[in-house]
């Protein structure tokens, strides 16, 4: 029961998508798998936010929506602007 509540009410999908995406940038050779996983987890997060509300019997929280927006923006940034992101990582993270 607690697990079900956790699964539908917490933005685990978004957080997972972000984490996997970060890994994809660090481990080049596994990037296709990580990118795919990020996409799937993001889809899970969106499903949680817009379809799982009924099972949680409440509206998606503002926090969940903010995390959703940030996760979606990050995934889009990696897919659409990979070189700019790579430059940032090379200069400030690695």
């Amino acid at each position: 029961m607690a697990l079900a509540a956790l699964a539908c009410c917490l933005p685990l999908g978004f957080a997972g998508a972000l984490g996997v995406l970060a890994l994809s940038e660090m481990f080049d050779k596994l990037q296709p798998w990580f990118l795919g996983a990020a996409g799937v987890l993001l889809a899970v997060g969106i499903f949680q936010a817009y379809r799982g509300q009924k099972s949680c019997q409440r509206r998606a929280s503002r926090f969940s929506l903010v995390v959703l927006a940030l996760s979606a923006a990050t995934v889009l940034a990696v897919l659409l602007f990979p070189q700019h992101l790579a430059v940032l990582l090379a200069d400030y993270v690695l």
């Binding site: 940038e25 990118l35 990979p82 070189q83 990582l89 090379a90």
Partner: protein
């Protein structure tokens, strides 16, 4: 449905912006424009024209952070050896799924030195040539192979040697670029001290 219009518009704007930025970027001043490698003849001619210099071939992926860091390290080495005859051939390849466009301006400007020439090699011709040379000369390498394509690596060639049927014997060949760059720097120091460049042995 109306509430999704801003989202769709934003997504469309990002897609258009992405397409706009996906074209080949401009190289730093002092360098020729990015050259597409349709066959090896242009690169081979430029390589042989620079025979009085130490020549370096870099194989890099434009959206790989480690490659971009390596490129910056090489740029710093070039800045520390401004007076040396060095020719760097930076070859960008499509390796990662995110390498869906040619290198943009921010990527090309990782190597700003005027002694650098930058290329886009969509068909991995240079990587194949390097691999062919390494295999023919029985040079071992334990890095830089992604499904048969060499990348994030550096090959250094002595002055005088010509690229004929295959690349000449390298003084140094290994990767990743960031990891091997210090050896390149020490090789340049050695070359400064040694009049006979061909005697230097720094193969891994």
């Amino acid at each position: 449905m109306k509430r999704y219009w801003p989202l769709a518009a934003g997504l469309g704007f990002l897609l258009v912006l992405s397409m706009f930025l996906s074209g080949a970027g401009s190289t730093p001043s002092g360098q020729p424009e990015l050259v597409n490698i349709d066959d090896l003849s242009a690169l081979k001619a430029e390589f042989n024209r620079s025979a009085d210099s130490v020549r370096v071939i870099l194989l890099l992926a434009p959206s790989c952070p480690y490659c971009l860091k390596g490129a910056r390290v090489v740029e710093n080495i070039l800045q520390n050896h401004k007076d040396k005859p060095i020719a760097v051939f930076s070859v960008w390849e499509r390796i990662l799924p995110t390498d869906w466009s040619k290198p943009g301006t921010t990527v090309l400007h990782r190597l700003r030195d005027a002694r650098v020439r930058q290329y886009w090699d969509a068909d991995y011709r240079v990587a194949s040539a390097v691999r062919q040379t390494m295999e023919a000369r029985h040079l071992d390498f334990n890095c830089c192979d992604d499904r048969g394509v060499l990348w994030d690596m550096m090959a250094v060639f002595p002055p005088g040697a010509q690229w004929g049927d295959m690349l000449p014997e390298p003084l140094l060949v290994d990767g990743t670029v960031e990891e091997i760059a210090p050896k390149f720097a020490s090789l340049l120091e050695t070359l400064q001290a040694s009049p006979n460049i061909g005697q230097v042995e720094l193969k891994p």
